[in-house]
Symmetry: C2
Subunit: 421 residues, 2 copies
C-alpha cells in the first residue's frame, strides 16, 4: 500500500488524555483512535495488526479441532438468570439495554450461558462429543476505570473457545492440548520466552486454572516465577500448600509484574447442570456434559506487543504481526530524472507479487520525516532508494532493531526478505 493512499497520518504530539504507553504510541502512529476510555476504533494499519494476531490464534485453534462460529452481543436474560449471573452484583461489568417493547437485554461480557444453551440443539448423545466451538467476538465490559489503553477495554475483541467433553478424562486430554496450542501462539507472536503458564485459582472441578502471564513492568498482576521450570504462580494462590503441590520452594521464585494474555479454565458441569445440557452415554445413562473455557484477548495482546517492544523512536512490531514487512522510502529531488521512482516502483511491484507487505512512502516530504514515520510505525525493514543508492547500484536496508543500515544488491535484498531467487 502507498502511504499517500492511507487516510491516517502520524502525529508528533503525545495524546494528553492517555497515560498508557501502548495507547499513546498507537494513537500517535495512527493505528487506533480513541472513542472514549477503553473504547478504540482500529484504523487501517491497526486493523491489519489485529487481523494478523487473530489469524495466528485461528490457525492454532483450528489445529486442535476448533469450529469457528460468531455469537451475538445482545443477550436475553433467561439463561443468565438460570446461572445466577444476570445480577449486577454477580457480574459487575454488565452493560444493559432494552428492546423497544421494554424487555431488558444485556451486552455479552462472555458467552458460557448462551453457548451452553445453543449446544442443547446439537448435543444429545456420546457420539456428538467432544466438540470445540470458538469465536472472535466483541465483548462489552462496563469497567469502572479503563486507563490501560488496549490492555483493558470496555469494548474489545476476545477469542473464546469452549470445550464440551464426555468426562473429565477426555477434558483433561484437551486441556493439555490447548495449553500447548497457547504456547505456540505466544511463541509465534515473539513473546514465548517471557510468557509463563501460571497457576491460578480453580473451581469446584479442578484445584487450579491456568493463566498465561507475560512478564512486563506495566502488568497489573503479580506473579512468582520459576524460571528453570518455566512456570509461575499467581499471587492469589501463592501459599505453602501450592508450593508443596508443585514441589518448589519460595527461594526458587522471583516476584514479577505481568500481563495476563490468556486463561484456560475447567468449568466442569457447572453450566451444563444449570442449563440442562445432558447426553446419553454409551451405556444408555444420562450424564452432564463436562465443559472448559479458554480465552485470549487479541486486542489486549496488540496493546502488550506495542508496549513491550517499543523503544524511544516508536513501535517495534514482531514480523508476524507487523502491518507490513517493509517500509519502502524514496529520497528524490524534484530535479532528478525519475530513476529513483522507477526503481522503487519496480521493487514495490516485485515485493507485492511475492506477497510481502510493503508500505511505500511515495510522498514528497523530507527524508527525515519518512525515516521518523518508518520508526514510529515500527515496520521491521526500512528500504531506501536514493540517487546515492542508484549511483552505487546498491539498496539501503535497515532492520528496525538494527543500529546501522546495510547496502545490498537487489538480489541480496530479496534474499534477506525471504524471497527465493
Amino acid at each position: 500500500m502507498r502511504v499517500s493512499e492511507l487516510f491516517t497520518k502520524t502525529s508528533k504530539n503525545v495524546p494528553a488524555d492517555e497515560t498508557s504507553r501502548n495507547a499513546q504510541l498507537l494513537i500517535q502512529a495512527g493505528y487506533i483512535y480513541k472513542e472514549m476510555a477503553g473504547v478504540y476504533t482500529f484504523l487501517p494499519l491497526g486493523k491489519k495488526v489485529l487481523d494478523n494476531i487473530v489469524q495466528i490464534i485461528r490457525e492454532e485453534m483450528d489445529g486442535v479441532g476448533g469450529n469457528e462460529l460468531s455469537m451475538t452481543a445482545l443477550q436475553q436474560k433467561d439463561v443468565w438468570e438460570a446461572s445466577g449471573r444476570w445480577d449486577d452484583k454477580v457480574i459487575d461489568v454488565w452493560f444493559k439495554t432494552k428492546l423497544a417493547s421494554g424487555t431488558e437485554l444485556g451486552l455479552a461480557p462472555t458467552h458460557e450461558e448462551p453457548l451452553t444453551a445453543l449446544m442443547k440443539t446439537f448435543i444429545s448423545s456420546y457420539k456428538d462429543l467432544p466438540v470445540y466451538p470458538y469465536q472472535f467476538q466483541t465483548k462489552f465490559r462496563n469497567e469502572l476505570r479503563s486507563k490501560s489503553g488496549l490492555m483493558r477495554g470496555r469494548e474489545f475483541l476476545m477469542k473464546d473457545l469452549y470445550s464440551f467433553s464426555k468426562d473429565i478424562g477426555e477434558h483433561n486430554e484437551f486441556y493439555d492440548k490447548i495449553s500447548a496450542a497457547y504456547d505456540r501462539v505466544y511463541a509465534r507472536l515473539g513473546i514465548g520466552d517471557i510468557t509463563y503458564k501460571t497457576f491460578a485459582s480453580g473451581g469446584s472441578f479442578s484445584k487450579y486454572s491456568h493463566e498465561f502471564q507475560t512478564l512486563s513492568p506495566v502488568g497489573e498482576d503479580t506473579v512468582y516465577v520459576h524460571e528453570a521450570k518455566k512456570l509461575a504462580i499467581n499471587e492469589e494462590v501463592y501459599t505453602d500448600e501450592v508450593l508443596t503441590d508443585l514441589g518448589i520452594t519460595k527461594g526458587e521464585l522471583v516476584e514479577k509484574k505481568a500481563v495476563e494474555v490468556g486463561n484456560i479454565f475447567t468449568l466442569g458441569t457447572k453450566f451444563s447442570d444449570t442449563l440442562d445440557l445432558k447426553y446419553t452415554g454409551e451405556d444408555g445413562s444420562e450424564k452432564s456434559v463436562f465443559m472448559g473455557s479458554y480465552g485470549i484477548g487479541p486486542s489486549r495482546l496488540m496493546g502488550l506487543l506495542a508496549e513491550h517492544f517499543a523503544d524511544e523512536k516508536g513501535l517495534v512490531w514482531p514480523e508476524a504481526v507487523a502491518p507490513a514487512k517493509v517500509y519502502l522510502a524514496t529520497i528524490e529531488k524534484p530535479s532528478e530524472d525519475g530513476k529513483v521512482s522507477d526503481i522503487a516502483n519496480n521493487i514495490y511491484e516485485e515485493l507485492t507479487r511475492a506477497n510481502i507487505g510493503v508500505l511505500y512512502d511515495d510522498r514528497g516530504v523530507r527524508p527525515g520525516e519518512k525515516f521518523a514515520d518508518a520508526d514510529l510505525l515500527g515496520i521491521p525493514y526500512r528500504v531506501v532508494i536514493s540517487d546515492k543508492t542508484v549511483a552505487s547500484d546498491r539498496i539501503e536496508v535497515k532492520a528496525r532493531t538494527a543500529q546501522e543500515a546495510e547496502y545490498l544488491t537487489r538480489q541480496e535484498l530479496m534474499q534477506k526478505l525471504g524471497i527465493p531467487t
Copy 2:
C-alpha cells in the same frame, strides 16, 4: 472439513417460531441459530457463507480505493447531539445503555457522526482528499418488529463506506465508480440480472439517492422496473416529475416486490458542516468536506440468497458464497474392504490441496440421509463414491441444480471442478 467434525447438525423440523423462509432453512440446515427475533448467531457453515460475501464486497471496495477500518458499537452522545440524531424521535431504533458512572451511551445504528468526528484528526488540507474509509461492522437497530430472518436484523453486519471529497465534482466521479462496484458485487453473488439500480429520494445535495433492489416476491419494497434500461423507481418517488426526469413513461414500467440490498447516498456537507470538518483549499480558503455514504448488508444478502435460490429440497448456494464447493459422500457397507473410503480420502486430499472446499460426509449413516443433507445444505456439487462407482471406475457427480447425476472419470471430475490436469 469432515461432517463428523462439525458440531452442527441438520434438522427435519421447520422451526415453529420463524415465518420467514430464509430463517427456517438456515436454521434447519444448521447455518444460524436464533438468539431472539432479529438476532442470530452464525454457526460454522453460516459464518463461511457470510465471510465469502464479505470478501467479495471487500475486494470491490478495495478496488475503488477503500481503506478498511473497524469502528466501535459504543457511542458517546455529543456528536449525535450535534447532528440532532441522538433524540429517539429522530432515530427511532436506538439501543441506549449507560457507563458505570451513569453517562448515557448508544449502540451505533450507523456511523456518519463518529466517522466525521474521527476524520477531523486526518483531514485539514485539500492534499488529504479524497479518502474512502469503510468497515464491516455490527450495527444495532431496535426494530419494533423483526420477522424477516436475516433480512431485517436488530444486530446485523453492515458494510458502510463513506466518501470524503473536495467538492461535488470529485464526489460525483466516485459516486459513479462505486455504483459500478456495487453492480460487480451483485453480479459475483449471482443476482446481477435481478438487481436494479433504483431511484429513491435524495436530500439537500442531490435530487435522488440510489438503492439497489433485488426483485423477489418476499421483498418489503415496491419498485417500478424498466427492464430495457435496467433501472427502477422506488414507489416513494414514483411521480410524473421523476418519469419526465428519466424520460420514461408509466407504460414501460412493471410493478415488482423487491429487497433493498444496497444504497448509495450523497450526504453533501450536512455532517461536515454540523461537526466542523473543514479543509483548506488550494486557494487558501476554508471549505466544508463533501461527503457520501454507501451501504451493503452482508447478512441481509445472505438471507436473500438463501431465500431466492432455495427449492423444495433446501438451500441452493451460488458457488461464490457456498461454504464448500463439493459435498463428498461415501456409500459403504461395513462388510466392505475399505476401497470406497480409500478412494474418497484420496479425492478429499486432492481437492483440499487444490483449495477446493469440501464437506466430506464420512458418517456411518444411510445414503438417503447423506443425500438429503447435501441438498438441504445447498452445496453446488455432490460427489458420491460407492462400491458401484468403484466397480465401474467412474465417480458419480451431480450439480445441486441438475436433475440427473453424471458418471465421470477422475480426470473428468477434476476438470469439471476447475482443477487443471
